[in-house]
Symmetry: C3
Subunit: 273 residues, 3 copies
């Protein structure tokens, strides 16, 4: 199934509209190309509807959020919704500032999202802020470890049902749920945290996978997370004496570029709960 997801991206070359931060935008563009998609960037409110209309999917990332850019996110999102394009939100820094938390929550409330991808702190912030009266288990706030896994899976599943979209929590263990099933993924390397923007890159890849696999969004999202994690493993194996995080960054994108469906099926480490 994951191989099929990968091949669908390579065969359809989905065009992805990215409204993203200026820190990691170049890597996001190159990794979308590496996985088989085609990236376009535009964040000007008066440009954004035209651009989204020529794309197949929309990726919104609030990593360097500007107040003047928020309107464009909504306009692009509404247009993408009208066109039936998948929309993915990466709520970078939700919880670290009020503006980011509020903007992410508004985007979740006013747009029909296909998926939200973030780290556990960001997702926990959104779950708390969404006004559920059931509360959110504080334990789920902790890093997802083998010990806290059961509770974390339950948290992600519940928040996915509540939010009405796929929730992807990524970290040393990735949890990706559509409210019913939950993929638990153990690909990746801890050193990936030393490369800026591997999360943003995964959001870009995931949007391409969601766009190219409209009938199987959960599998597409899980496949994308396995691609990124496995690329981190393959890239690490190619590291040479003297290489550091800059070489690693390049090698990760290269591993995405060269990944085959067979390699993905063989290397993906996941269970379905």
């Amino acid at each position: 199934m994951f191989a099929k997801c990968l091949e669908n991206v390579r065969n359809t070359e989905p065009v992805i509209h990215n409204i993203t931060n200026y820190v990691t935008v170049n890597d996001v563009a190159n990794v979308i190309l590496a996985c088989g998609g085609s990236p376009i960037m535009s964040d000007e409110a008066e440009d954004i509807e035209d651009i989204t209309s020529v794309c197949g999917g929309l990726h919104i990332n609030i990593g360097t959020l500007h107040k003047t850019g928020i309107e464009g996110m909504f306009r692009a999102g509404r247009r993408a919704n009208a066109l039936g394009h998948p929309v993915l939100l990466d709520p970078v820094g939700a919880g670290a500032s009020a503006l980011r938390t509020d903007t992410a929550l508004s985007l979740m409330n006013e747009l029909r999202l296909c998926a939200v991808r973030g780290n556990i702190s960001e997702i926990r912030t959104l779950a708390k802020g969404s006004g559920t009266t059931r509360g959110v288990d504080a334990d789920a706030a902790d890093a997802v470890t083998e010990d806290s896994l059961d509770k974390a899976v339950e948290f992600v599943r519940r928040f996915s049902r509540q939010a009405g979209c796929i929730i992807a929590v990524t970290g040393s263990i990735d949890l990706i749920s559509d409210g019913a099933r939950c993929y638990v993924i153990r690909n990746g390397r801890p050193e990936m945290r030393k490369v800026t923007g591997t999360g943003c890159q995964l959001s870009g890849i995931m949007t391409a996978y969601l766009t190219a696999n409209p009938d199987h969004p959960l599998e597409a999202a899980a496949a994308a997370a396995c691609v990124m994690g496995l690329a981190g493993e393959i890239a690490w194996d190619r590291m040479q004496d003297g290489d550091g995080n800059a070489a690693y960054r390049n090698r990760i994108i290269d591993a995405v570029y060269n990944m085959t469906g067979e390699e993905l099926e063989k290397g993906a480490k996941y269970e379905l709960r």
Copy 2:
């Protein structure tokens, strides 16, 4: 001649003012350094005239156009015109949105441009929009291939005369005309499309070449296109097992950095029509 153009860049180290998109701006800066120029970036309207005044050439790229940035493009362009600096326009996405098409056409109408460099779709959009009553051959809209070459050359030549500046259409075959002559260039590799911003990079290099070779702008523009394409070929030959588009990106810039005039003369594949 091309060797001389290259050496003029290396010897004069032209300072290039870039108003460009935030996606590929770092690669544009590094490739301008690689070819022998010196890049400066500024897009704030109140900063831009001072900056352009300390430069030798101006490169305007609308890849992530903001409405608030348009005034600065005009102010920089008018100042560069007053100072006699060459101005190059890269109309990224013209045809994909009304804002981009309109802005590119206004820049062409109100500034005295030295060159416009884009892909065939962007250039076709500008040619249509410029209000010619002779019309533009729809066949020229197609990708430039050996079969459509004669018509495409005629289209580029005619649009160059009409626009009053060099028109550079780049793709698998590059066509660069000053209205009289037209260079047909066959350097490059198809894999260059898998690296984001190779077109933006070429625009940066071309501006440096135009600035350092004021007496031979057509040759300078053609030399720049050969440099970029040849760098893509040299870089491809240096690819190793496991390398992908991130490694390729670095190797292309490295090939520009190491290119000699002799290498350029030997590797340039062009004819003059």
Copy 3:
């Protein structure tokens, strides 16, 4: 001492708030990770105080200054001052435009800076503009060479006393003074000028070092300059046939990533005046 400074960064992982230009921001993020810190970027005035509050140090760089971004620089700076966080200013392009010069001077006047790091032209501009009636020796305007060294040291020392913060002038010889003592550092390679943003990267590293070594700011700033220069030397030794400025850029960051305290002590080339 320098080894201790390095280890303090690696052990405390200081979180650094960067308000910086969009040209070199990705390299700044990766080099801060490489040296052991953790970068966050935010330049929106309404976001910036929240973000600075979760950080340990603030790095302000005016490389692509926007008028709309200036308010945020002051708000972040005042908040960082209130929290006792070190603030470093990189006055990119001071002297090249009135907006940059004026903004840099205002930031120096209204914020309590820990350090200002720039090239000799930028620092000279600030020294002139600060309204000293003693004047600034015009000779100090020249590049810092062995011949002009004595005068340059005196200039930097005097301006540091006047400005009330560390002044770091970097170039082929680096001069870093707190008004009393002055480090004269001879690490680095001339080829580093061919990589865009090595100065911005040093400013990022220096902010991390200042944050992790609050009791020894002068040593921390000097150690950071040695780290960057030594990384440039190590990276150069690793260059292979066909490598250029793109490979060099990656190798420099990799050398920062792999540098040990022992290596730094052994490779640092400095004298204290």
